[in-house]
Chain length 272, copies 2
DNA sequence: CGTTGGATTGATATGTTTCAAGTGGAGTGG
DNA sequence: CCACTCCACTTGAAACATATCAATCCAACG
């Protein structure tokens, strides 16, 4: 199954869930402007509203926020921000996966961040992004042009606080990853990635229905090479470690980019 | 020369400089409370006031800030914050070096941050620090107990902004380090560390007098093992790379923890 | 049904770690 | 003042994990 189709699958699962939450809204493949309840429209069922940056806004603030917001989609591989440039917009990931990469002069690459819904992309305070932000799958963003965003950052007190909270979370994530890159073995790195994805996925699932016990099926979204660049390894090594974990019974490979984890806790042990 | 004495030397250079800046104040080895100009006292010549967190405060705010602030010193090796605990205070480094470390279950260690004056230690918003903060040399901190600090964070609009700026800088630093840990060779790692220290040192020097061209002498402050834990290597490898760089003429070892860099730009090239 | 891009597996090369021995300077005590 | 000790540092040799090079494999797709 090709990357794009898998991404769409993931997308559809999310949209199905949103439909459950908000049975009146008419969300198709490109849900446009049909909403019934009130002026919040597509914001009401949106992940970003429920658990992302928009969660920091009270109803009236959100209405204002909506006036500057606009959705944009990006094809796999497309760049969202370039390194060392001031981006045009701050944005929230509505669906899909964004990877943040840094490149060395000779082409060596390191993925320094992976953004899933409802994470934010971009830098506040008129700063440059020190990395490339690139769509790893089909991606839908809710974009806030800087002019308006910076203004609301000053007007809505909760927003700046939220931004600080998010930045601290990002920092914590980066520090954890430094331990992985500096001190963990190849097997621990791969296991760590899977555990991280499992954890994030279960947060999302919990909302809809029950948490699926300790066994989980994951979408990797990334190809082996991208995983390698995230873990500071080569793609061959990543392959071999997948095989190892499979041999040890800690995972099952149920598709090119699909992994079944029978016991997340056991895998977490192998993650160091 | 023993570690402690070297640290004191570095300390004294800083204090000498402070004396230049503020000829009236009577700064001895333990400058206490003798100041003449106004109520700002020891804050006036302090690095933290000039380039650290206190720089975000206007004069009146600083006066209030001073009422909750208190200086504390830590001996080399002493812990400042423990991992996964809410610290009692937010603080700024006045002199010395603080290292932030994370430890794996089996003792593997990774230094995830190195704080020099006028950096900040601690977490805002009542969060836990996800690392151990430990004095690497004799350290002097200016501490702000949380109760008061959080209050002023809400009262002084510039302060929260500044905290966000600093957190973004920390994040950028962490991302750079991820590239180092994930993709650079041992030699590039050591070179990168030296370039980073040289850059930071020159920022400090610039203020006092002219930047010392492209040649610099650095205090490492850390022992080989600590450097290794910062770079994701073993201390033997760090040793060997120091020797390599010396053989290549890029550095000279002028003391156990003292390095002379004849041409910082040339070293930066070797840093990848 | 051949083409293509990604994934897997194998064989070999290499950089770093590990284990081990030795150095050198600073502090100690006779 | 001179051993003596200690700890950090240095250097060497062997072991090891991961990278590199190379050959399939496999599923999707035109």
């Amino acid at each position: 199954m090709p990357a794009g189709q898998q991404a769409l699958e993931a997308d559809n699962r999310r949209k199905n869930f949103m439909r459950l939450q908000n049975a009146n809204s008419n969300l198709g493949t490109s849900s446009m402007t049909l909403h019934h309840e009130d002026a919040l429209g597509r914001c009401e069922p949106c992940v970003v509203r429920r658990r992302g940056i928009c969660n920091a806004l009270i109803r009236d603030e959100l209405k204002q926020f909506r006036t500057i917001a606009g959705r944009r989609t990006f094809a796999p591989g497309q760049h969202i921000h370039l390194a060392d440039e001031k981006p045009e917009f701050f944005a929230a990931v509505v669906s899909g996966v964004v990877k943040l990469t840094k490149v060395l002069f000779d082409g060596r690459q390191q993925v320094v961040g992976l953004l899933l819904p409802p994470d934010s992309v971009g830098r506040a305070l008129g700063r440059k992004t020190p990395y490339f932000a690139q769509a790893a799958t089909e991606v839908e963003l809710c974009c806030f042009p800087y002019a308006g965003f910076e203004r609301m950052l000053d007007d809505f007190p909760g927003l700046k606080q939220r931004l600080l909270e998010q930045t601290l979370d990002e920092l914590d994530g980066a520090l954890d990853w430094m331990v992985l890159l500096g001190r963990k073995t190849a097997e621990e790195r791969v296991a760590s990635l899977l555990v991280m994805l499992a954890t994030r996925a279960s947060i999302n699932d919990d909302e809809g229905e029950r948490a699926s016990a300790c066994t989980q099926t994951l979408d990797l979204h990334l190809k082996r090479e991208e995983i390698a660049d995230f873990l500071g390894l080569t793609y061959e090594t990543v392959c071999r470690q997948f095989s190892m974990l499979k041999k040890r019974g800690l995972i099952e490979l149920t598709g090119r980019r699909r992994v079944m984890v029978p016991d997340v806790a056991a895998l977490a042990l192998a993650a160091g």
